[in-house]
């Protein structure tokens, strides 16, 4: 009898009601059957401890939330950082910052603009422009002081200073601008000078000058480039005060000229390399004495 129910899954099949009738009948006749049945009956009374389903779920939520936050923040931050960087660089590219170049006393500066045009800045001068304007084909810059421009052919190129404007298409010209003094010399091509309501067109060898409130003057000159590029400053019938102003800029000096008529007209040139020589070339024709004390120069009439 025993052998009939000792294959290795017999009891499993019994519990699962998978035994044949014959097997079951013969099994029930054995002594073991009762014992097995008793064990099985007794196990009905067992139970696992209570499982605190909600509490564990809460713990899981806490942990997964904490983990999720840890995981997500870096991704989110990277994306944000990237887009901010992109935004900033785009804004920077589009608006650009103001590019400013300036010279001090006695300095000159040569620079190339974004379109390849060249500028030579004389002493105590500055230019300012927005890079973005230039990339958009808008060639505009602001000038203070004196500059010589060699403009590459292209769209309109304009030089602003207060309410004066020089605009050209491709040429070489010199602009000198002070609050009360404005001078444009055209060395090549054609330039249009706008001073408040007045518009003048200059061709090669022509100059435009406006001093204070006096009527503007047009002049003719022969040089092919400004003298200051060669270390000389030249004037043509210019009031002495502008000559002295220029001298101050070149040498970083202060000039006192108490009893001298600064409206005398001066024609000539002075060197930018030697103060004594320059003072002599200015003072001798006007029969004026000068004395130098470090950076102070006093002019006096005999």
């Amino acid at each position: 009898m025993k052998n009939e129910h000792t294959d290795d899954t017999f009891l499993s099949r019994w519990l699962n009601n998978d035994l044949t009738n014959e097997e079951l009948v013969s099994f029930k006749l054995t002594t073991e059957y009762k014992e097995y049945q008793k064990i099985i009956d007794a196990t009905q009374n067992f139970n696992a401890p209570n499982f605190n389903e909600k509490e564990v779920l809460q713990k899981i939520h806490q942990q997964t939330k904490a983990k999720k936050v840890k995981k997500l923040i870096p991704n989110w931050m990277f994306a944000a950082a990237a887009s901010i960087a992109l935004l900033l660089s785009t804004v920077y590219y589009l608006t650009g910052t103001n590019e400013t170049y300036s010279t001090s006393f006695g300095e000159q500066l040569a620079l190339v603009l974004p379109d390849g045009s060249e500028v030579l800045l004389n002493s105590k001068s500055s230019i300012r422009y927005k890079k973005s304007d230039w990339f958009n084909g808008n060639r505009t810059l602001e000038l203070n002081g004196e500059g010589y421009f060699k403009v590459k052919k292209g769209s309109t190129f304009s030089v602003h200073s207060e309410n004066r404007k020089v605009s050209v298409l491709g040429t070489q010209f010199n602009v000198k601008t002070n609050p009360s003094y404005y001078e444009v010399l055209c060395y090549e091509g054609k330039v249009r000078v706008q001073n408040k309501d007045e518009t003048t067109v200059l061709t090669k060898g022509l100059s435009y000058r406006k001093i204070d409130v006096k009527p503007s003057e047009k002049g003719v000159f022969e040089s092919i480039k400004p003298n200051w590029l060669d270390g000389e400053t030249s004037f043509n019938n210019t009031p002495l005060k502008y000559v002295l102003e220029e001298l101050e800029k070149q040498y970083n000096i202060q000039i006192t000229s108490a009893n001298i008529d600064v409206n005398l007209l001066y024609t000539g040139a002075f060197t930018n390399k030697n103060l004594n020589l320059a003072l002599q070339t200015i003072c001798a024709p006007l029969s004026v004495q000068f004395s130098v004390d470090s950076n102070k120069v006093v002019l006096s009439k005999n």
Partner: protein, 169 residues
């Protein structure tokens, strides 16, 4: 049309939790005999599922949970000999049985508990999942990633061994 459920959706996650957490807990308890440890195992298994939710398809979530619980358990304990204390339910409030019979009955239950505690882990979990949780052999086989035949063998051996220990009473 087949609707694909993503384990990463919290509603799906909750559904899996309410469906399986209790049997997972019991499973862990039949292995360890330690209620607190079992809770931790359930917790860890579900957290693991959540963290890997993108890699788990809904249909495999259940077997993932049981496999992970099993592995976590194996990692955690250097097995100590577990003595299980099973709660008794269905105790009759009043009875007309004789005191001797009740004494014998109690002794038998204690013996049976110890015998179950002494079973090999594999046999014990199969036996209790079937007897207490009323899981079919097929379900148990899926949980443990073993064949139905293997479950049946373990069940048979478990019962046989229990009888050898408590059968004489």
């Amino acid at each position: 049309m087949l609707e694909k459920k993503s384990v990463c959706e919290s509603s799906v996650f909750e559904e899996l939790y309410s469906e399986h957490s209790k049997s997972l807990y019991n499973f862990a308890f039949y292995k360890s005999g330690n209620a607190a440890q079992s809770e931790d195992l359930v917790q860890e298994a579900f957290i693991k599922m959540w963290n890997n939710c993108a890699k788990i398809i809904f249909e495999k979530a259940k077997s993932f949970l049981f496999t992970v619980t099993n592995n976590l358990f194996l990692n955690q304990v250097a097995h100590k000999k577990v003595v299980l204390n099973y709660n008794l339910i269905g105790k009759k409030e009043s009875t007309n049985e004789s005191p001797e019979f009740l004494m014998e009955e109690k002794e038998f239950m204690n013996l049976l508990q110890n015998a179950i505690g002494d079973l090999k882990e594999g046999q014990r979990e199969v036996f209790l999942l079937n007897r207490i949780d009323k899981k079919t052999y097929k379900e148990i086989a899926e949980m443990l990633s073993i064949s139905v035949k293997a479950v049946e063998k373990r069940m048979h051996l478990a019962l046989k061994q229990l009888r050898e220990k408590v059968g004489n009473i």
